[in-house]
């Protein structure tokens, strides 16, 4: 009898238990899971997230600067390729294919978008955006993001739009730099450094745009010892200096066969390198290791006083003032600890200026634009002599071409 009761109880319990299990499964089916980790978009739409948004966009532009320094460095003869990777080899040979352009194009474009998208978000979320130091800084970095793109990209494309002239990057940069200066002025003294950095950016942009008076004007506002950098760090892989990785961690890019190599390892303190008595990763060239970036955390310069003096020199040279221009150039050389050079003709002065920009801006992602700007226009016979047959800018990446409906002609 007892057993029978147990049996009935068990059966009854089982029926109830089965029903309950079905119910539980029904409830669980509707489970909504939110995973930790990635930050969801809505979480950034608050004033308190403004600093995070700014740091993020700055970080992206800094990455872009480091990437540009490496890839455009290899592509522009700052460095020579001796890699096991085909695209690095192609860059080194001056071949920049659409399908290999993504390594630079994508990072630089994402940085620009993030910076400009961050400006929009900060305008929405900050209580007094026109007096916000965050917004001033965002404009500053958006300006440099555009300047970096201008220095390496063949054409300007914004937010999936139609291709425009490369100069649009610089025009856009000018707008951001001016906004940065305006907002920084409203903020006050605490934003002075932002304004100073923006002025240096304006000098760079106006030079490329051919507005030489303004280029000289803003360059003149920047002191000799000015330095503005994209910070690099050993804190994470993303923050590492890319040239350091490619030349110290591995040996994909060598100084061998470049202009700097001709000077010798100690020929110019601004282009240091070391013969490691081995070949590069590709096994094809002696491996001369660059020593400008000796640590993974070595910063990548974005603007500096010496460049401002060379901008002034170029403006003078364009005005036919060879002597004054050479004075500016030699001032830079003296400050760098190298002997002055002489030039009596404009052609000689252009070569001197071209070489000086090369040594001053070496491995800073600037040479590709200078090759195109000075070499192809016959201003400098020096760079004109070694850029023959080389691609001088990065086309839109394969991804941009494939996904942007305005680029069907490039497919």
């Amino acid at each position: 009898m007892q057993s029978s009761n147990i049996s009935r109880n068990v059966n009854g319990n089982l029926v109830r238990w089965t029903a309950a299990s079905w119910l539980c499964l029904g409830v669980l089916t509707g489970c909504d899971i939110t995973n930790p980790g990635p930050i969801q978009d809505d979480a950034l739409e608050v004033p308190a997230a403004g600093k995070t948004v700014l740091v993020g966009l700055v970080s992206d532009v800094e990455v872009s600067a480091s990437v540009a320094a490496y890839y455009s460095g290899v592509a522009s003869t700052d460095l020579n390729a001796d890699a096991t990777q085909g695209w690095v080899q192609n860059f080194g040979a001056g071949r920049i294919k659409i399908e290999e352009s993504s390594y630079l194009w994508d990072e630089a474009q994402a940085a620009r978008w993030t910076a400009e998208h961050g400006i929009e978000r900060l305008r929405r979320t900050q209580t007094s955006p026109d007096q916000s130091p965050l917004l001033a800084a965002a404009h500053l970095w958006a300006g440099y993001a555009n300047r970096i793109l201008g220095d390496v990209a063949c054409m300007a494309i914004f937010d999936g739009g139609a291709p425009e002239d490369n100069a649009e990057y610089y025009r856009r940069a000018v707008g951001h730099f001016q906004n940065a200066i305006t907002i920084a002025g409203a903020v006050g003294a605490t934003a002075d450094s932002t304004a100073a950095r923006a002025r240096a950016g304006l000098a760079q942009a106006y030079l490329i745009l051919g507005d030489y008076p303004r280029a000289a004007q803003f360059a003149g506002l920047v002191p000799d010892d000015f330095l503005f950098v994209a910070h690099r760090s050993g804190n994470s892989v993303r923050e590492n200096n890319r040239i350091w990785e490619a030349t110290v961690v591995s040996s994909m890019a060598t100084v061998h066969g470049t202009i700097s190599a001709e000077l010798g390892p100690n020929g110019d303190p601004r282009t240091p390198w070391l013969d490691l008595n081995k070949t590069g990763a590709g096994g094809a060239r002696p491996y001369y290791q660059q020593r400008k970036y000796v640590d993974r955390g070595t910063d990548t310069p974005l603007a500096k006083g010496a460049e401002m003096r060379l901008i002034e020199a170029e403006v003078l040279l364009r005005a036919g003032e060879v002597t004054a221009a050479m004075d500016k150039i030699n001032a830079v050389r003296t400050a760098a600890g190298v002997t002055p050079v002489s030039a009596t003709t404009p052609a000689q002065a252009w070569v001197a200026l071209d070489r000086e920009r090369h040594f001053t801006l070496w491995l800073e992602g600037r040479r590709l634009r200078d090759n195109a700007r000075l070499g192809t226009t016959a201003l400098s016979s020096w760079s004109a002599g070694f850029i023959q047959g080389r691609d001088l800018c990065f086309p839109p990446s394969l991804t941009e071409v494939a996904s942007n409906p305005n680029l069907e002609d490039l497919r």
């Binding site: 970080s59 978008w113 892989v237 993303r238 994909m252």
Partner: protein, 1062 residues
Amino acid sequence: MLQIPLALVFMTAAAASSDAQLAMSVVDAGPLARPARLNLERVPLANGLQLLHERSGVALAFSSRLVPARQLVSCPCESATVGQALDHMLAGLGLKATELGGDMVIIAPARNDRARNPEDARLPSAGPDALESVRADDIAGRIVGRVVASSGEPVGEAQIAIDGTGFRTTSGPDGRYAIAGVPDGTHRVIARRIGYAAESRTVTVAGGDVTLDFTMNPVSIRLDEVVVTGTAGQARRREVGNSIGTIDNERLAAAPRTTMSEMLQGQVAGVQQFANEGQVGSGSTITIRGLSSLTQSSEPLIYIDGVRVNNATYMNNSLTRTTATGNPGANGAQNSPKPLDNINPDDVLRIEVIRGPAATTLYGTEAAAGVIQVFTKRGQFGTRPQWNLTLGGGVRTQTANSLGPVVGKDPTFLGLKPFLRNGAQHEADLSVAGGNDVIRYFVAANHEYAEGTLPKNDSRRAGLRANFDFQPQDKLSIHVSSAFSNRTSHFLESGDNTYGFLLNVFRGSQDYTGGNHAMLLDIDNASRTDHLVTGVTLTHTGIRNVTSKLTVGIDYTNSFNDETLPFDFPLLRTGQRNTSSWTHRTLTADLASTWSKSLGSKLSSSFSAGGQFYHDYDHTLIGTAENFGGPGQVTLSSGANTRASEAQLTVVNAGFFVQEMLGFNDRFFVTVGARADGNSAFGSNLGLQLYPKVSASYVISDESFWPKWWQTMKLRGAWGQAGKAPGAFDAVRTWTPVAGYDGQPGVTPANVGNPDLGPERTSEVELGFETSVLDDRLSADVSYYRRTTNDALFRVTAPPSEGFLISSLRNVGTLRSNGLELSVTGVVLQKRNVELSLTGQYSTNESEVVDLGGAPAFTVGFASLGQWVRQGYPMVSVFGRQVTNPDDIAEPQYATDQYLGSVYPTFNYGFSMNLRLFQRFTLTALGEGAGGHVALNNFPWQSARRNLWPECNDRQPLTDQAAIWRARCAGPLQDRESWIRPADYFKLRTIGATYQVPKGVVPGAESASLSLQIQNPWKWSKHPGLDPELTRGGTFAVFPARYEYYQLSPARLVTVAARLSY
């Protein structure tokens, strides 16, 4: 504790064998609910029960003291269930039938306080003696004899019946049987057993004993075999409208015994296992019918005893290091263990494989790539403890053949030979199985140590398994399955890796070590894994023919990987340590109920409904330390600079299904069903997803018009859908936290998000047949499938100028694949001392990207590999420059962007052989091949660039060579594409020999055997590299791209093993 008086057990082979054990662990219609298919008129009750058992497949256990065996009974039970038939036959006897669990029914007194006579508590084995004791005083005549196989071995559990009567019995373990009380006259006696062709003979009884022996021939079509995979519960193979690949004990005998992955090699048509890497402890890749997705995993779901387990490879180590170009994970061991390989192969009883959505519908959103169910061994009721001990050992070597056609020919193996060694291998397995009327058990322990052929590569695995089955209550059975394993593997740095051992060795002095390759042996890499799979299945039967089953289980893994570059390591003097700790947990809750009923004399119905809930959780901690203060043992804390990262991921999938199976005349079956699934990874705008299915099978050979010489023909067809869910974050717009200047927190765009994101939906039509001829000695299983994936998840990249560089998933594509699968098994030779059976299989897989849905063509893996997803081409195709004048003695001419071939094989084939000699020797062989695809030869390409590749060095001067060789060998910038070459291969996976030691030679042993197996004895390949199956592996495998890059070939392994049973 219940004590059940039993004296007789009528069991079919299926019920008493492994299939019955399987049946205990799965949902069943319940034996009492099964069709009786019986029509008796005045036969002795014992014979009636026996016939009922025969017809229904249900094992009946009863006491000879309680059941009046001689009482004549009638039962017009053609359309009744087993329960109704028993009620009819036992009416008025004070007996009632209750389910004991699985396929067994016990007949006992109807009162609850059952007899407790200790003598009745014993469970004698089935057989003629027991039957004889029932009916000893009623003997009119007796047919006695012995059933043996054509090989001479006794055949137990064979059913012996006098045709047209209720007289029947079952042979004992020694093959002997007896049928008592046989009336005088001439009778036709039939012997049947699953796995053998039926035999019939005529005998004349004239009182007394007459001897009638049977010799049975094995067959391979087993339509009454019970399968569980792809069905709502269990089903006989004849009822299933789709193909099911089964790997049973006999098939496993020829398989490699070292890992579970290897056991699957060449066993089931359409299933391919890629070795990936030859270092011991490495994981592999398994695909069924090729790729099922281009963005999600194409590996099948894996269940072990009903509990879902992680089917991916474990995270490998060295996650935080980078190449010069910033690609993470390019260093480290690049080897990841596979969870499936934590199972001890000796614990496996049987494996079932279903190959596509036509069969996997009931598994829902994550089952488009197929399902593999592994069933482990269990004890049996009424058996004494049986101890099994296996001791084995062997040696693993790299040979000229294993290292490929070019490296193998070089006297120094291109510099590798000085580092190679003979790797030791040994294993020990001990298990005990048995059971009584209350509990069954299988408990096993194992230990295996494998040494690689390169220094510092080894793998040690230890495991415990405990499987228990309880019967605490008449209608309730409980099955517990638990296994724990611990595995520690050490690796050399591998693959596309600055510190990769083979990469540096094969580059000679033009490497990263300056030719001092031995320094790389200072790097330590290890993976340590604790893996627990445990589950409980409760099966409740008997409430109005409804059987319910609930399985609750957990798959838990903790894997710790570390890589240490010691202080003063020449390439990084201050040292570095990378670790990853990965915890994975899958919770399974699976509830299903089946209601079976006969609908008239010819129609049967089985309605099932159920729901499943799966909860996956991953937790990853990654740490890096650099700049050690000095030499010695280090931890992360030893570094002056440390970095860490953490990730957590939870995915929930839950759904319901219903299924109705209608049977007509036990030969025509139609099944319809559907499943509704929800998944936490779906977009917020997406609700439950519905996956329907329909299938039919027709055993046409059961029809009267079917010719007798054509023993079996089952036609089948199935259509069904299954899905493949996106990843946990794919539907959400997210930003990734990044560190800015001075460690300040920032965010950068991550995933653009898609609220409409849903699963891939794959539909599949499968048509086929299973047939046998020549007295079932030749059988074939043929399937054709056509699979279409709509809403295929493609990574669609927005223009980079819109900010989000990481492509996001969109349900935009259409994929299609079709193929033919043929499996033929034949008993070629069958003599007393020689028996030879062969199995061959061939499968094709033609895939096509039908529609990219507006998404641009995209590369998989690294862009430079040239492995593309393009409309109108196979799912992963290689494109690149092609030499248009390959055979001309001229400079190469090129055509750009040419289709160069499929990355995945378009056909596979295999064979297995089993040759038994003199009843004691067994020789086995297993081979497998694939072709129709190409491989990128990175290793030869890199060597050629350095003038180190013999194929180029032997062709100097190149001016005398054909254009293709000039392209391959012309200098440091030669085309990588010219090294894309056919990768067809055939591999003899194993050859083996087993000697069955005569009884008595080993004192006390019930059986003993000695075996020799050679794994990977020989291969042939068009691939000039080390091995055509190699690819970059581990977590940073660039799936679905495949490319070798200095992975090691699988080695030859020679093992000997002794197996003892007590």
